[in-house]
């Protein structure tokens, strides 16, 4: 039998995939699946080393919108072609497909897709006599947060990502910077972190978290915030749309019936105010089981799979954002009141037009070059230092600017 080694991360959707995978093996008795489940950062590091050194340990890797085009361009991934008609590629949300393509060639199939949005506690808002608009501004968010914070009761107005990392705090901070009219680089690849836009955005973000955020905000990432929100500690939370499914799930959330949602807040411009991300399945060039691997990823991102999850776990938990057909289903509409909202957010997130001023790169909450991982994280560390009260906004941004500048200079983008 052909062995297909799948490297994936440890979030609930992937765990569910592993749980249902025996169905695939049953249907394809000549294919045997092996799983390597790792935490996100470890996974990224392992997958990268494996692919870049042509080690061929994995047949399927789980990668994001950031990696897919970069790796596709390098020829490290097998192009996804020749999918059966029944797969119905057109059903897959276009922005997601575009995000995973390089030069029009698709290199990965999206397993789930997310954007970002605002969650809030309806009960708390009601009690305080507040009302969340469909499209709040950051100023409004600040007002609400101030009102809803009661630290003595362990009640915090807002939870946001603070943990350093290009995929953690910088994903969120980048959207704030975007909507405040800022950008990472200008057209000539000059870093823009020391501009007033960044200062305003980061200053606002840090101040908001410091005054109204929970303790330890500088080490909170998506997971920590999800925990806080679902155990009722936060009044608001701006983060990935996938959280909706979990927050509404009664077995995982203590506030399932009190959650409201709105669009990600805006400031100066709506451009780039919410991100686009997908976890997708790709096949390394070095895989020795190309066909089997393709069969598997097609199955895992198919309509049938979504249906299986719906039946097994409930429709609220199906992998979101990938297929328009999902959103058309009455079961899903009923189970996921946020569905349409999420789909709209995803469809309106355009990686190629995410900032007020022109930029030489694509990506909303990241800069689509390999070097971003490094300087993104370094800048993220400085900013988490600001949130922890260890440095000032000014110092952090100055240092961040230098880092970013140096990185692109070294890599030869800046002429």
């Amino acid at each position: 039998a052909t062995t297909v080694t799948v490297a994936t991360l440890n979030n609930p959707d992937m765990i569910e995939l592993k749980k249902l995978a025996p169905a695939f093996e049953k249907a394809n008795p000549d294919i045997q699946l092996k799983w390597v489940i790792l935490e996100e950062n470890v996974l990224r590091q392992r997958a990268t080393t494996d692919i870049t050194t042509n080690s061929g340990q994995f047949d399927v890797v789980t990668i994001g919108t950031y990696e897919a085009p970069l790796w596709g361009k390098r020829g490290w991934l097998s192009p996804i072609t020749g999918l059966p008609a029944s797969y119905d590629l057109d059903d897959v949300v276009k922005t997601a497909r575009d995000g995973l393509s390089y030069n029009g060639q698709l290199y990965a199939l999206p397993f789930y897709v997310e954007s970002s949005m605002t969650y809030y506690r309806k009960d708390l808002f009601q009690a305080a006599g507040l009302k969340m608009p469909d499209q709040p501004t950051y100023d409004q968010i600040k007002q609400f947060a101030d009102k809803l914070t009661d630290k003595s009761k362990g009640q915090y107005g807002i939870c946001l990502r603070g943990k350093a990392g290009w995929g953690e705090n910088m994903a969120f901070v980048s959207t704030v910077v975007n909507t405040y009219g800022g950008r990472w680089f200008d057209e000539n690849w000059k870093a823009q972190l020391d501009t007033p836009e960044w200062q305003k955005a980061v200053g606002f973000y840090a101040d908001l978290l410091k005054t109204d955020g929970p303790p330890g905000a500088s080490s909170n990432g998506f997971n920590e915030n999800l925990t806080l929100m679902s155990s009722g500690k936060c009044a608001m939370w701006i983060d990935a749309t996938v959280a909706a499914g979990m927050l509404y799930n009664k077995s995982q959330s203590q506030v399932a019936d009190k959650i409201g949602f709105a669009a990600a807040p805006v400031a100066v411009t709506p451009k780039g105010s919410h991100w686009l991300w997908s976890w997708s399945l790709a096949i390394p060039k070095t895989s020795k089981s190309q066909d089997a691997a393709k069969k598997f990823i097609a199955w895992a991102t198919s309509k049938e799979y979504i249906e299986m999850v719906g039946k097994d776990e409930g429709w609220a938990s199906v992998p979101p954002g990938t297929r328009k057909s999902t959103y058309a289903r009455p079961e899903y509409k009923q189970a996921a009141p946020f569905g349409d909202f999420v789909l709209k957010a995803i469809e309106s997130a355009d990686p190629n037009d995410a900032s007020l001023k022109k930029v030489p790169y694509s990506g909303i909450q990241f800069v689509g070059i390999p070097e971003f991982q490094s300087f993104g994280t370094v800048v993220g560390q400085s900013i988490s230092g600001v949130v922890a009260g260890q440095t000032t906004v000014d110092a952090a941004l100055k240092a961040g600017n230098a880092t970013a500048d140096r990185a692109v200079k070294q890599a030869g983008y800046q002429k």
Binding site: K18, K34, E39, Q57, T227
Partner: protein
């Protein structure tokens, strides 16, 4: 005569209290140090909701264990851990014993330097040499094999093993080996029939330390193994920050990963207490 009589009854009471004080302190610190592990253990038997409540009172459930076991092939990981630890221990001892024998019983002026040099290889930061090793392992087909991991761990831990064995051998009376020589023992017979059995307690504690160190090593195992050879450290890596409420599951997984070695350690602690001296006790 009568003065002491009045004082006598109070003295023993005071004495007992005085004598109990160090014990009370010792217990206090023992409990303090053990507390995190205790807390992890009871959290493993809670539901996720209860896990956040920080309460000592709850109805234990095996729910988290069930989930963890269903989600990943625990026994596969555990088996690898066992294979690797035992493999490392055996090979390390096989290499270290003759080396330490020669160093202890036939020292030269360079012996001390060689030993220190060996120890200094342990200070090499793993992060710095990951890529070279990764490439080497890839090219030799050792990636994701138990053998590959055993080789790395053996080399990492060899200096410690040599040093420990060396200090134990130093305590073996030379006379006995000479008696063996007169009885006609060759070098190998000397090592196998005389030296090893005599320093058994020391070698056992060396072995134990090797088991513990290789069981807990996380960096190389995560980087050099994927599916076939992954030990429990990799198993834990898939729990270190999943989404949603996860402390009970995390605790259950942690407990599963830690328990075997903890039990082995506890059962053999007498050996460890006696043997872990590194020559510090003369």
């Amino acid at each position: 005569m009568s003065h002491p009589v009045t004082a006598t009854p109070s003295v023993p009471v005071l004495d007992t209290v005085k004598r109990a004080i160090p014990g009370i302190f010792a217990w206090f610190f023992a409990i303090l140090l053990f507390f995190p592990i205790f807390w992890m253990t009871i959290t493993a038997f809670k539901t996720e909701q209860q896990a956040y409540a920080s309460s000592l009172f709850f109805t234990p459930t095996l729910e988290s264990f069930r989930e963890v076991l269903a989600r990943s092939n625990y026994f596969g990981f555990a088996l690898n851990s066992v294979l690797i630890s035992l493999g490392v221990t055996v090979i390390c001892l096989l290499l270290a014993v003759p080396c330490a024998y020669a160093m202890a019983f036939f020292p030269t002026k360079k012996t001390q330097k060689v030993l220190l040099w060996m120890l200094s290889t342990k200070m090499m930061p793993s992060v710095g040499v990951l890529v070279p090793i990764y490439l080497l392992w890839k090219n030799t087909g050792l990636l994701d094999t138990v053998t590959g991991l055993i080789i790395v761990y053996t080399l990492i831990n060899l200096p410690i093993a040599v040093w420990m064995a060396f200090t134990y051998f130093n305590e073996v009376p030379r006379d006995i080996l000479e008696a063996g020589r007169i009885d006609g023992a060759t070098t190998w017979q000397e090592i196998i029939y005389l030296l090893m059995p005599m320093s058994l307690p020391g070698l056992a504690s060396t072995g134990l330390l090797l088991v513990i160190l290789s069981w807990n090593e996380a960096f190389w195992s995560i980087n050099l193994s994927s599916s076939n050879a992954a030990p429990l450290t990799v198993f834990i890596a898939s729990y270190s920050s999943p989404e949603g409420l996860f402390w009970a599951k995390l605790s259950a997984a942690s407990l599963l990963a830690v328990a075997p070695i903890l039990i082995v350690g506890w059962l053999s602690q007498k050996q460890l207490v006696r043997g872990l001296t590194f020559g510090a006790v003369k």
